[in-house]
Symmetry: D2
Subunit: 228 residues, 4 copies
Amino acid sequence: MPGDLQLSYRATVELSQFDAQPESATEVPAANLPLETLHYLYPSRYCQSDLLVGLANSEFGDLEPGYARVSAICDWIYTKVKYLSGSTDSQTSACDTARERAGVCRDFAHLGIAFCRALNIPARFVSAYAYRLEPADFHACFEAFLGDRWYLFDATRLAPLDGIVRIAIGRDAADVSFGTLFGDVQMQRMNVFVESAEDNSQPDNLQDDSDADRKQTAISISESLVAK
Amino acid sequence: MPGDLQLSYRATVELSQFDAQPESATEVPAANLPLETLHYLYPSRYCQSDLLVGLANSEFGDLEPGYARVSAICDWIYTKVKYLSGSTDSQTSACDTARERAGVCRDFAHLGIAFCRALNIPARFVSAYAYRLEPADFHACFEAFLGDRWYLFDATRLAPLDGIVRIAIGRDAADVSFGTLFGDVQMQRMNVFVESAEDNSQPDNLQDDSDADRKQTAISISESLVAK
Amino acid sequence: MPGDLQLSYRATVELSQFDAQPESATEVPAANLPLETLHYLYPSRYCQSDLLVGLANSEFGDLEPGYARVSAICDWIYTKVKYLSGSTDSQTSACDTARERAGVCRDFAHLGIAFCRALNIPARFVSAYAYRLEPADFHACFEAFLGDRWYLFDATRLAPLDGIVRIAIGRDAADVSFGTLFGDVQMQRMNVFVESAEDNSQPDNLQDDSDADRKQTAISISESLVAK
Amino acid sequence: MPGDLQLSYRATVELSQFDAQPESATEVPAANLPLETLHYLYPSRYCQSDLLVGLANSEFGDLEPGYARVSAICDWIYTKVKYLSGSTDSQTSACDTARERAGVCRDFAHLGIAFCRALNIPARFVSAYAYRLEPADFHACFEAFLGDRWYLFDATRLAPLDGIVRIAIGRDAADVSFGTLFGDVQMQRMNVFVESAEDNSQPDNLQDDSDADRKQTAISISESLVAK
């Protein structure tokens, strides 16, 4: 029975941000990795890290391990891959992006994740809401496990890291698509919006932070959420 | 510091087997699937179901949904894919096997899983110990979610289904390899063995079951395990 | 210097058609193949026959060699692959089509060629004008070398074989695209038309041939051409 | 009827070498390319230049066109791809090598060719005999069409360019394998040797050329051959 379907979702999110010095975010030997991070070492549908071991080692194998190496991966992607809307589709994988050198945020994240895993760094996909994008929008980035926690990275450099609200984390976009549709569905319209819950000054404050400062800081984000 | 490393693992397993009539094992509409089965609908590294939607629908789309359709998938694989030791490697995926038409148990399982997912049937990889193989050996097969539980399938037809001890389940072999090695390791030797814990007659009894009977029964297996 | 560019091409073609009994069109052992057919045995960009040896042998390896086997390949493609405009692009290859099970005339031809080569039958791509299509249009089909000449096959079953005017032959569409564009070009409009050079009754006569009759005949076509 | 088969082939080759200043070897606009070079612009089985347009433009698109750009391609390959015997097989293509970053002379040549074609530079595969390798051996390299002739390139840097005897040229290794075997054949032994036809001093003279000198010269080679 065909018809209109409208979904709305609202959440109040409290963002808790952990800033670390990059040098404290080190790579962890496989033997010391927490058990729950291991799944994020393995290749997945869109992040075929096993197929990219050669490329990752050729480009990043000789770099100093740690936060700086993951940053170098992001710099490489930012420099070599063109952000180009409509250049990819739902079948595009990290292997494709390494070759086509074009993609969108999802593709940038997949490639970053694949490179990390190829170097034995656990990495996972983040479906996010980037409230400091203008206009605010859905976004995709990734997290790498360094030291004792997950740190956020965004190879697109589009959204300030401290303006990322994680909606879901998974091995890649297959796990955490914004929606998985069964049957014949046509999307008509999507509206996303954000407002500061109590204190308008706080987001502004964040936006005042200079990017230069941020670049020196490793950021880890967690949210506590109340659905309404 | 190079040297020898020896690992041994021993477990006492009590196998609990659930037999159902095939017609009771029906496909479940996506809307009614238990939440924990959803991950097994998505494409994974070795089971790129999104890339095989066309092939799966061309071959199996018109078949009656349910246990019989998954059986037809296994028959197709058994008939069209040659079991050939050494024909594949750790990078071989379901897409490759659909084309190369040769592989080992792992490849048979990956292809079965990918076909199921392409038809919206949750399916997962089973790393197993097949104690009724002669000689008993590690094995790979898969489970599909039908009705209200996971049922076991083995497109290789090598091992009796009621002789399968599941060691691990995952989205594909990337999740549940027998071992993931970091660093430079050479395997020297592997011994696997099994003995009946108390009552020698039980495995024999099982082996007395005629295959013809078994073919009419959908089998679901669970284990309770004591590591020693 | 941007601007309009108009190309027109006109040719008077005399079609010479060779009809043979299918049983006389046999497969030729590699050792007896004419030297100039050998290139059409090798894999090419869109017809990766080396990657499809397993699939081709699994499906067609046991069939009687000869015209009937190539016909069986076309029947398989016609039955299993959906003709779907817009389902593929300029990167789609025979391997993709074997999996996606959808494509257009170019993809049908590529898959037929790849299967033939995988079975050691020389096969080549035909860029054609199908004047008995309604409306008449460009078309792609393929030729296989059997007996002592090239025979025409069209797995799409869209155009009568005796209404095919070959524009170019090559190893696959990479060789004989209708146009290869360098630089930034937008196609505005394409008109194709055909008229009978002298005798209007001849095309009509051809069209009177029943398809049933044609199915029993192996057709080989050559053209002599006067460009105007 | 199984049995031994022995093939021997002997040729007297007179090598004619054309040295040019690199700056005279310029890239030719597509409109000015000789007709017979066009086929070497198109993608082929192992040189899928259409799939590597993004990568080629990202790495080499901003470089000065001409001999120096093709040299830069070779430098890139030499630096980024490991020469590793046994790392590839007969299915390995330029796309694979760009990702795996390992291969043998054939793979180095395929990648160089694919990059050139992606930049609209005609390039072709050279099956060669490298008589100044020690020991002398078969080899693969490639030629790019610049100015008004084909110039030789070898991204492996293994063999001096002026010691290359071309055995065959083609679009890639599919065209000019050293042998294409039909049926079940096992190679037992292969011997290759070379001797100076008249004047022993000539090869020695060549070997005296310093590599430093050679690097400044674009070399084009042709052979006249007498089979014996």
